[in-house]
Amino acid sequence: MNKRAIYPFAAIVGQEELKTAMILNVINPGLSGVLIRGEKGTAKSTAARALADILPEIETVLNCPYNLSPSDPDSLCSMCERVECAEKRRRGEAETEMKRVPVVELPIGATEDRVVGSLNLEHALKGGVRRFERGLLAGANRGILYVDEVNLLDDHIVDVLLDSAAMGVNSVEREGVSFSHPAKFTLIGTMNPEEGELRPQLLDRFGLCVTVNGLADPDKRVEVIERRLAFENDPAGFAGKWKKASLELAGKITAASERLGTVEADRAVMMRIAVLCVESEVDGHRADIIMLKAAKTLAAYNNRNRVEEEDIVKAAELTLPHRMRRQPLQHIGGK
């Protein structure tokens, strides 16, 4: 990503549900993403882009294009062109680095070969060598894949995404290349429902879903104008002013990630979740699993080691609305 100034996440006015859903995903990548639905001009894309601001760091093999963790199996490296790196890993001498969780943006005009990867043309032409040219999914491994206006994506690109999201692996069989690499990513998508719906299959892949609306309070609106103008005027200065708030939030997220492993959910909690899912007639069991994870993450974020009723209620609000639809024409979240 290039160095364009990013509007600070902490400076977004209102939209608490949206912010919570994104923060939960940062704390716990197991929540498998968030879909942000809403009308035009409601900070959907701004929030998604701003997320980079508060992301924690992960440990990876030095300069690894797939962001592999040192604990990933080294067999993955046998296919990689970075031979010396594979050699080192086999000997257990791989160097590592700390880097920010990567954010990869998938533009709507992207073609399949650039998403999954394909034959490297230049090497084929010059050296007559078949070499894999990495696609966007490679860099998104262990990171965030962000799709603006995900409902406008071509169906066949959606198919590819679903495939990788389901398996956590990207397998390429095209143009004489046969290759696969890990592709575990958190999917963040924005969409305006006026422009058409997502396929239920893809909808279900998003762990959480929030609906955003414009703010009705004139004072809040003025605040939006103020902050936006201040940011446009002096992006660096504005980010500086919000630095403290951003750091605090990032700190809270790190603390929550550490606490997450210790959060307990007893049988009663699971019963409650199961009942909620049965009552809302969701398909499959993904809702149950995600809701439990979300409730635990919420507890961790609120500095607790036990899941409480309020966590479950909040988690239900984030996990159920987009899974409850029985008919394509029934509205999500009843709104």
Partner: protein, 622 residues
Amino acid sequence: MALFHQPVFPFSAIVGQDDMKLALLLNAVNPRVGGVLLRGEKGTAKSTAVRSLSRLLSEPFVNVPLNITEDRFSGGIDVSGAVKNGVITVMKGVASEAHGGFLYVDEINLLSDHIVDIMLHTASAGRVNLQREGLNAFYPASFVPVGSMNPEEGELRPQLLDKFGLAVYVESSPSVMERVLLMENRELFDRDTEAFCRSFEKEDESLKKRIHEARRILKSVKIGGEAKSRIAAKVLEANAAGHRADIVMAEAAMSFAAWRGAYEVSEGDIDRVSEFALLHRRNDAPPYRSEPESKGGESGESGGEGKTGKEHEKGSSERTDESAGGNSGASTERPSEGGETVFGISEPFSVRPIFSEKDRKRRSGGGRRSKTKTDIRRGRCVRALNTGGKNDLAIEATLRAAAPYQKYRTPPEGMAWAIEPQDIREKEREKRSGNFILFIVDASGSMGARGRMAAAKGAVVSLLLDAYQKRDKVAMISFRGGGSRVVLHPTSSVELAEKKLRQLPSGGKTPLSAGLYEGRRLVEGYLKKDPLGRPIVILLTDGKANVPLMEGANPREESREIAAQWARDSRVRFIVVDTERKGLVEFSLAETLASSLRTVSLAINDLKADTLLSAIKRSINE
């Protein structure tokens, strides 16, 4: 670009069109205003103004043609470089040429939706993110997008409308003096271009200075708390979605203050620019009614002085129906047969498949009803062909084709392969194309009888469900009382369609001709944008026309005539759903209409049965 040296009509010499000029100047001073959408009539110096303003500022001006492909817009692979030198380079597109200047699209509502998406995305990001055809590149492309459109030819999607910072309604000047001055200027320009341009040099020069001065001042322009509250209040009052209107209005007001040479935004500044930010975002009435003239709308009345709704004048105001002839000129929407009612929707059912054969024409657009070959370099690559000219290289197939000859050829310096033109293979891509389905719904009073309207709505919802699964685009027109109106412009959102349908009121007389006329106009607008599209028109009516388009005409004969004319357009397929008919044997007015449209009429019950498919197949084959 070569155009750059062509003589351009001087900006200062453009007569009138103050709003348009101001909106462009606000963007020139402050590009964060985010572009202008010029809505309105043709021949109002729209492109001239943009061209001359960018010439005046010595900034790039790029005119985007409607047939542009994605690779020419954002950039694509340089094929000759790849094959000749084995180097993969990006051939940048027009987005990059427009960097730092204006990007102009005439008739943007006819440009492919996908390209408009990419264009406005690029404009707001200020750069191109190219992830196509093995290319991975970012390059700067910040430009002011300017689009022009005549709303009568079809709307832009609301999401895209919102991405244009400002919108201006452009119309020809009503002042005789101005029109005369305009003609004189044009004459002088044509007679002696150079002399004419020279005579405006001074004015252009001072305009340029003023723009540069305003750009300098802009950095120090303050906007107070009260001004911001005023902006928020205006946007709330207009019920515009989201916050973009607020931010754009603030930027435009600051730009205007700077243009005046003031360092603080005044109330007047906001009032001057607020309409520019709200025209295309206002949401008080049904959307798509942003023109001040309010053409069409709920009724399409207003006795004929409307400047844009010529068809509507014919369509509705000259109505002379037998019973209510006395009150012509009054609002035609007044229900003359009972009151206005909103009927519910009967239980939806699953419909039989309509039209699905794979066809041989190349099309653009996405969807799932029919598989189609595509020329726009999207879709899945299905095979490689030696066709040439599409610049869509299938590298693997090309290499395979060249392989047998490598023994006999000498590769150029630094290359492993010798590839010759006859080896080149290009990709043939396939994607499913959605159809475009237009529902023309009779919402007259007679449809209220015996649950017809509820049944009709149920049928439309069932067809919508089917359309959803097939990724079709849908649009809806209703006719009742004195005229017809477009309830829903073409959209992929069947949810929006369902919402509009639910709220659709009925009552009043049956202006069937107006409904057909409006439908034809909409379909033709759609076909301009997607010439290879295959629209399906589904007409739900009992056929009891009683309001003609032309004064004194027999409404039923007239509607049949219009139907017969339309039926000659072989690109369009029709289905008539007879809302009155119960069984298969009864003869009805809708059936007569259907035969004029060279199709068959179906009872609502038929939609559920296997008969639909066969009936439609029969209707196409005949």
